[in-house]
Symmetry: C2
Subunit: 65 residues, 2 copies
């Protein structure tokens, strides 16, 4: 999994009129990848506990609790 | 800003051997976009407070506190 630096810059620019350093885009990417990976891992655990082969939207929400 | 559904499925599949419903990919996208938008907004506020025109990596870290 890898978010593009261009996408990270787009996100940062979309919220205001600031310039965006390369380092800030890298940092945002690291954080989002870690967060997304954690949610994915937890969602899978929820589906597994429930004996399902498919991840549902409710598993994602449950993972956030 | 918009993360692709394909990327969300990739993330969910990368953490285990589960099938991924369309709804779960949508849900993950919504959550990541909200989280990313909040971090961006807060990072910009930090840079602004500091009188800077450029967002630094440290602003992103500060935004998470």
């Amino acid at each position: 999994m890898e978010f593009s630096i261009a996408k990270m810059k787009e996100i940062l620019k979309s919220q205001g009129d600031k310039r965006v350093s390369e380092g800030s885009a890298d940092e945002l990417r690291d954080i989002l990848e870690m967060f997304a990976g954690d949610i994915a891992e937890e969602s899978i655990a929820v589906a597994k506990e429930d004996g399902r082969k498919t991840i549902r939207a409710s598993d994602i929400r449950e993972a956030l609790r």
